[in-house]
Symmetry: C2
Subunit: 388 residues, 2 copies
Amino acid sequence: MRPPFESSPAGSLTASAKSIFRLLAEGDPSTRPQLGEALNLSRPTMSAAIAELEQLGLVAKIGEVQGLIGRKAAIYRPGPTAGHVIAIDAGSTHVRLRVSTIDRRLLHSRVYRLPASQLLLGEEISRAVAEEVAATLTETDPGWGPLRMIGIAVPSRVVGPQGDRSATRQEEIFSCFEPPANVPVVLENNVNCAAVAERSYGIAKDSETFAYVQIGLKIGMGLMLGGRLLRGRNGAAGEIGHLAFPMADGSKPIAGEIERYMGTEGFMQRVVAAWPEPSGKAPADAADLMARAGEGCATALAHVTRHAEDIGAIVASCVSVADPGLVVLGGGMGGSPLLMPTVSEVANRLSYPVEVRTSTLGQDATVLGIEKLACEQTVDLLLGESRD
Amino acid sequence: MRPPFESSPAGSLTASAKSIFRLLAEGDPSTRPQLGEALNLSRPTMSAAIAELEQLGLVAKIGEVQGLIGRKAAIYRPGPTAGHVIAIDAGSTHVRLRVSTIDRRLLHSRVYRLPASQLLLGEEISRAVAEEVAATLTETDPGWGPLRMIGIAVPSRVVGPQGDRSATRQEEIFSCFEPPANVPVVLENNVNCAAVAERSYGIAKDSETFAYVQIGLKIGMGLMLGGRLLRGRNGAAGEIGHLAFPMADGSKPIAGEIERYMGTEGFMQRVVAAWPEPSGKAPADAADLMARAGEGCATALAHVTRHAEDIGAIVASCVSVADPGLVVLGGGMGGSPLLMPTVSEVANRLSYPVEVRTSTLGQDATVLGIEKLACEQTVDLLLGESRD
DNA sequence: CTTATTATGTTAGGCAAGTTAACAAAAAAA
DNA sequence: TTTTTTTGTTAACTTGCCTAACATAATAAG
């Protein structure tokens, strides 16, 4: 056993102190009266709990605020012992990194664009992550407190202890990158991370149950049910690229065929093949197609609409299984407002009532999501409470 | 406000007393030492808690047991105040009714076979339920304690307060049946109930996450995630009859088409249409087909295997969305052991690792499931703790 | 048949974590 | 300067659990 302090500086905090810390870690700094009100704690209890937390450095007073009348109220936020986390979106085109306190005050950030030639090469990504982390560590300010956690969003399945680990690419991220000793690492699928971000900061802030559907190079889904991510036994929940397809009387489905059919590449191949002479040169890529559709090109718009119908059918399948009530569209294509109406129309026609919204968080969704997860994990660790 | 005693005779029980009651309601009667051991409660705490519960009649001593040596240990189980529940499977062919204590000791049971001509007529079912409940109430024994809850499993979606209530048939059950005053009613979809039963008593006892797929007249799924049913915004989670189908390049999916294609009726139509002259008379119904397949009839077996492949594809779709790790096959056709191997092979080929098992609970699965749910609800109510 | 051993249950006393009530401190309003 | 209002602290009490010690009821041993 390690010394208990290292993993959990707050081994034996009172329940009230824990709940106060949790609330402060959640977001905005708060005054004592606000905290007491929110948590239904009496003023004496607040005094005792804050004293406990301040003693450990888990909480610090950052000022006072004057109401209309009466004594000033003290304002608190997580203190230096609470430390900071590194969140990394290890995507196939970019590596995005954010360093922040556990109440998500940004301390540092960097973006590294991978050479296009190395798309999807796991080793290159791992090397980039290693370099960015190393560079970050040299700039660490002692005022940030200890590094508590590194969160990494990866574009592959992430399995828990009981799943089929062999078939994942999740370990590739460590091929060239070794995390600093004694700093735990949280891995999470990038689509799931985006779902978390939509839930915490984005268009799904008001819903604790919804499906985030990413449509871009590949397609994938993140299922948020009652505020919790559904990961599945093999980390494969939401791998809708594997929906049975084609599925029709007589034909036999092929594994992963939907991904090939619906991904940007397969889609654009069909678009280019079907592009009529009179409409001019076929679009160079998906972004080009979307731009032309947005400008009113009828041919482009027809293709986009056709694609949206396919997406609507897939969304209907997801609704038929999980009935989330809300679907958020995101990703390279999914982020376009052109898709939403058709997707919504088709999904609602084929299945049960769903609201369809378009993501508002841009490319930062994934980093923000993994940051959120890393912070949550850190709080659990500090308070000695591990969630599942 | 009603008097608090009626809804919750245990308004202010200590946490330890609540946990003891919960454990006793769970199942087998237990001795004090066993309970204390299981719940990590000291003997003095046990004394106090049992005294509280016994006072209210929520718990009763039913005997003593002698170990190898030492004093006898007292055995307890839920007492008369805990009361009893009525569980009803309001199916389209049978109405099954069970009366039991909240620790699920059967007090009374009856089965009513609906006239075949009235299949699916909601009003007839409602009338049958009303009659069976009335008949049951006349036989109630005062020793059973108060009737705490009526649970009804219905073959339709069941929506919560925020869902789209208009499109459900859930209210039909009350067209001719009015529950006794002051007795709360729990409605639940019959497939979900079967899933609960498999989880509590059946083949999925060891798994808190799995999908129950019912294949019979209609097809449906119950999703158990982390020990909790996934119901969905519109109570439509698991309505896999609405998976997008046919889904292939060029063809447009039709709402609910899978149900027509995969249900017993559609399936048997195809079987009969394709039945070759030399194999003799076409099978009369699905049971006949299954019987012949079991006896080695190659034609019958080929049809069954083909059907199992289709089911495998659907299971693969569910796995791709929820990745439950375990799928239990049940229902009229699904209960046959002939299907499992092919379903498993196809599902695993098309998607991620899933274990496929065949249901062991027969036609009682649904009643047992709604009974379990009614008992859980009752315990929550008695302890003044409502879950979601 | 008495005595030792052991498991069960109760009594006494203590502690942790909250509460309410009353008081002290710090600010604006009268 | 005094009053009023909000914030924070101190004192005393309550609840719900605990441990330690004792009482009870059974078998095992002498």
